[in-house]
């Protein structure tokens, strides 16, 4: 084929140009596709990290709530046997576990825990410390005088925590 002023060489060059455009387009598509895959992989990795973190947090909370429940039963025993030394130890244990449990429950990614339980943990933690201080300050104190008012709310809280722990253990086992 011959058009005035256009040689076969021009046609060849034009063909190469077209092929060049095609190759560039394909390259761009490949780059976009790779970037998309990378983004998807990064998002998937981020989700996996968040899920793992949430699971670890749930395990820690279950452990801490278990410690709270154990300390509650120690406080009740110390009250029944009127043992100030055990009571002081158990109240410190209880207060610390409650503080840690409350702090973990407020973290991002923590399993859903009712705000009522969290604020109960924080308030009762302070009351437990005050009861411990009242016992520690006195010679031969009667334990029930200082722990008596705590026992009922502690028992209720312990039951609520048991419900939560059971549900979480079931969810974690399922995963």
């Amino acid at each position: 084929m011959h058009v005035d002023g256009i040689t076969w060489l021009d046609w060849v060059m034009a063909a190469f140009t077209l092929v060049g455009f095609g190759a560039t387009g394909f390259g761009l598509y490949q780059a976009w596709s790779q970037a998309r895959k990378a983004t998807t992989a990064a998002e998937a990795a981020k989700d996996a990290v968040a899920a793992t973190r949430a699971r670890l947090l749930a395990v820690e909370i279950v452990h801490e709530f278990g410690a709270v429940r154990q300390a509650v039963s120690h406080v009740i025993n110390a009250t029944e046997t009127n043992n100030p030394e055990v009571a002081k130890f158990a109240l410190v244990e209880l207060s610390e576990a409650m503080r840690r449990g409350g702090a973990l429950a407020r973290e991002d990614g923590a399993p859903l825990i009712s705000t009522e339980i969290i604020s109960q943990l924080e308030t009762t933690s302070k009351l437990a410390s005050v009861a411990k201080a009242d016992i520690a300050r006195r010679t031969n104190p009667k334990v029930r005088t200082y722990t008596g008012e705590l026992l009922e709310p502690l028992t209720d809280l312990s039951h609520s925590l048991l419900d939560f722990v059971t549900a979480q253990k079931y969810a974690l086992d399922k995963e």
Binding site: E96, S129, K132, R137
Partner: protein, 134 residues
């Protein structure tokens, strides 16, 4: 190093007096989860000693521990408060414990700046309720 109960009582009374008179400046924090490794409030008498006051259980409640250190921070002795009654007819350790139990909340408040804040807020209220000049 061991100090006697009488010496601890003197430490406690003198620290309390100096603190109440504003001669000692306490700093620090007694929070259990504080990242600072040295928990407790401390104050220094220049070239003489450093005193540290903290709760035994990190919960801002009795019992308290008073530590006497060299100015470089080397610990000389600790005193852990013991149970005490309301009267002064009791062992010197109990008397010292009572003084320290009164001192701790005062120090805690002064470190957080609560007395100054309360004073400035109360002055604000005084301004509201003061009679206008005639």
């Amino acid at each position: 190093m061991q100090f006697t109960g009488d010496e601890w009582l003197e430490f406690a009374i003198k620290l309390q007096t100096a603190t109440f008179r504003g001669r000692l400046r306490w700093t620090g924090s007694d929070q259990l989860f504080d990242p600072d490794s040295t928990r407790g409030f401390s104050t220094t008498v220049a070239g003489n000693a450093t005193y540290r006051l903290r709760t035994k259980d990190g919960d801002e409640q009795f019992p308290y521990i008073l530590t006497v250190c060299e100015p470089d921070g080397t610990v000389l002795a600790d005193f852990v408060t013991v149970p005490y009654g309301d009267d002064w007819e009791q062992p010197v350790e109990a008397q010292a414990s009572r003084v320290i139990a009164e001192l701790y909340p005062y120090v805690e408040r002064s470190v957080t700046g609560a007395p100054q804040k309360a004073r400035s807020l109360l002055e604000g209220l005084d301004g509201l309720i003061a009679d206008p000049p005639l």
